[in-house]
């Protein structure tokens, strides 16, 4: 049997808007992936630690407070330090267009804004996951 893709859905920082994170978590699970949800208020260290513990293939970051430039890149920087770049990192939230190329360069391979259909996220993960 083919192994399921393991995804960690994480809420970095103080932001409590968890509607998107929960919907995506559920949609990925319904698409046959193994999903772990960290809950709220995670630091980059906590997220990377959870990724190690859970041996995930994908990290999905969700943030609507506007602090994505700092908090998303904290996670990818830490992954790089730990040589864990084989994990696919995607992110979503209220993200101005100008920020998208910067985030992509920093290792957040997929950036999804409001109005994204969950199918788009599922497809992106299936296509880009490094297994």
């Amino acid at each position: 049997m083919e192994q399921k893709i393991r995804v960690l859905i994480a809420k970095p920082g103080l932001d409590g808007h968890d509607r998107g994170a929960k919907i995506v978590a559920r949609a990925l699970r319904d698409a046959g992936m193994e999903v772990i949800y960290t809950g709220l208020h995670q630091t980059a260290e906590m997220i990377v630690e959870a990724a190690v513990q859970e041996d995930v293939d994908v990290i999905g970051l969700s943030l609507l407070s506007g602090a994505h430039m700092t908090l998303f890149t904290d996670v990818t920087r830490l992954l790089k330090q730990k040589n864990m770049q084989d994990i696919l990192v995607v992110g979503g939230g209220i993200i101005p267009e100008d920020d998208v190329p910067v985030l992509k360069k920093a290792g957040i391979s997929g950036v999804f804004g409001p109005g994204t259909q969950v199918e788009t996220i599922v497809d992106f993960i299936l296509k880009n996951v490094k297994k």
Binding site: G13, G16, H17, L40, T70, E97, P114, G115
Partner: protein, 558 residues
């Protein structure tokens, strides 16, 4: 409302119409869908007639504006007397930048202020706390001390303008800063007016910016109720909020039911403390969402007023003012699309109109660019102008409750009230709101509705213009608000200076007194006010309470 014989005839005629005219037509020209439902999933009939409200007793069930059960509005004159307060939620970056935005809005005809705080402030952390990293001024203004509050309201007549502050966990401390700032400007506590959100229950349920566990949180809230009616009588000490419950994905019925359940929970907590319901209930206010389903939203506001009036009366209130529900409305942020952002202006217009037809006391209209970033000046101005057009040009303000008596609206209002009581029963089975929160009841109900809604959009069974239909490939070109990058640095320097310059003995004494009081049972407001006046920072004051009360952690369920 209509005599029995007439109803009978209408029913007969309707049945005939249905069998002949209607059925004949749909045989050849079927309706667009087999079932029509509103956003809460209630099935909507093809037509409403006097039959649907035959059981109505006009005087008992509807009444008149400004009188029980307030279905038709809380003022006798409604908007003929005074328009709603146009109150735009704003805050970003440093206190200086936000102060400038407030003056801009007031200059353009805004009539009340509404403060958005950044995440560190919402969690009771100072800007230089490690957990504040990356968050300074991002989704609101940073206020770490009385100094910041002074800058935020510099040059603004706080004795004339009312201010609403969206703050919950540390509401008592931020409110104390506002009061202290007024006092320092020689404006009496009795003169200032405004609102603190101070609604912790919906934080556990939906918005998730909680700090302390439920019990000490409720204590702090009742402290503000008591302090408010005794010392700051023009202040609404709570704004019981459905807005965030809805934004988290609930239906309109859930928003109505969960919010009102929270409201009654606060009243009961205050009565348990020994407060007289007629002393404080008139200072409790509400805050609702205005979503896409036009008539459902209007019915929701009307039902809310009637449920509240009845419930407060049942709890023993004698004074009419205790029973009338005043509320603020904000158009639904979650309905804004990042695709073709200009069309959000049309969405916001409809949502705002629903709020006005529902009799709101104040209103925030979202800006078209808010699915992308914080709103630019121009976008905010258009949103404010939208309210002004409804107020000044549309004519909907000429009479109170213009949709009252509509068969559909009255049926729907009734139905939503009925559905609300069903939820009340379920909450009761958990043993009340707090046990239901601890068991994840609300959270699960909301997540379920949110998922269903998203699935409908993804499956194309629900149309969102510009998202799953009528799409456009062109790039959006919306100018994005840029913030002053030096703001954070200035703020941190200001904090350092404040900690160095303040009277150390006075500061330490105030913190010590607060700690002692928090360990006991006294009302904490005077102690918090003393801390604020002694230039204890938000983080320091909140830190004391964190030590004594502990922090709340929620289970991660999805």
């Amino acid at each position: 409302m209509v005599i029995k014989e007439t109803i009978k005839k209408i029913k007969n005629d309707r049945d005939n119409w249905e069998k002949t005219c209607y059925q004949n037509l749909i045989k050849d020209h079927p309706e667009r869908k087999p079932i029509f439902e509103n956003l809460s999933g209630l099935e909507i009939k093809n037509l409403y007639t006097p039959e649907d409200i035959a059981h109505f007793d006009y005087n008992k069930d509807m009444g008149f504006p400004g009188s029980y059960p307030y279905l038709r509005g809380v003022h006798a004159t409604m908007y003929r007397g005074r328009l709603w307060t146009m109150r735009m939620f704003a805050g970003f970056g440093s206190a200086e930048e936000t102060n400038k935005r407030y003056k801009y809005l007031l200059d353009h005809g805004e009539t009340g202020l509404s403060v958005a705080f950044d995440y560190p402030t919402l969690y009771g952390y100072d800007t230089d706390h490690p957990l504040s990293r990356g968050e300074f001024g991002k989704c609101g203004v940073a206020v770490s001390s009385l100094k910041d509050m002074e800058l935020l309201f510099d040059g603004i007549p706080v004795d004339e303008v009312t201010t609403s502050m969206t703050i919950n966990g540390p509401a008592a401390i931020i409110w104390a800063m506002y009061v202290a700032n007024a006092e320092n400007r020689r404006i009496s506590k009795k003169q200032i007016g405004g609102t603190i959100q101070n609604d912790i229950l919906k934080e556990y349920i939906a918005q998730k910016s909680f700090i302390f566990p439920p019990e000490p949180s409720m204590r702090l809230i009742v402290d503000t109720f008591e302090y408010g009616f005794k010392k700051v009588p023009r202040w609404n000490t709570i704004s019981i909020s459905g807005y965030h419950i809805r934004e988290a994905g609930s239906t309109a019925v859930q928003e109505l039911a969960f919010t009102l359940a929270d409201g009654f929970e606060y009243v009961k907590a205050a009565m348990k403390r020994g407060l007289n319901i007629d002393d404080f209930a008139y200072r409790l206010s509400y805050f609702f969402n205005a979503h896409n389903d036009f008539f459902e939203e209007i019915a929701k506001y009307r039902a809310a007023r009637r449920i509240w009036a009845k419930g407060i009366k049942d709890l023993g209130a004698k004074k009419p003012r205790s029973m009338l529900m005043r509320f603020h409305t904000q158009t639904a942020g979650c309905t804004l699309t990042a695709q073709q952002p200009e069309i959000n202006i049309a969405r916001v217009t409809l949502q705002a109109l629903a709020a006005v037809l529902g009799g709101t006391q104040s209103l925030h209209t979202n800006s078209m660019d808010e699915a992308l970033a914080l709103p630019s000046e121009k976008a905010v101005r258009i949103a404010l102008r939208t309210q002004q057009i409804i107020a000044e040009e549309s004519g909907v303000t000429n009479t109170a409750d213009p949709l009252g008596g509509s068969y559909y609206i009255e049926w729907l209002t009734d139905k939503m009230e009925e559905e609300t009581y069903k939820y009340f029963d379920r909450i009761k089975q958990f043993g009340g709101v707090i046990p239901a929160i601890e068991k994840g009841f609300f959270q699960r109900e909301i997540a379920e509705s949110a998922y269903k809604y998203q699935k409908e959009i993804d499956d194309n069974t629900r149309t969102i213009v510009g998202v799953n239909q009528y799409k456009l490939d062109e790039e959006t070109n919306i100018p994005i608000l840029k913030m002053d990058e030096k703001g954070e640095h200035r703020q941190i320097e200001r904090l350092k200076k404040l900690r160095k310059d303040r009277n150390k003995a006075k500061y330490e004494r105030s913190i010590k007194n607060l700690r002692k009081a928090a360990e006991g049972e006294e009302n904490l407001m005077p102690y918090i006010l003393d801390c604020v006046h002694s230039f204890a920072t938000l983080g320091e004051t909140c830190g004391v309470l964190r030590e004594i009360f502990g922090e709340y952690e929620e289970p991660a369920i999805y």
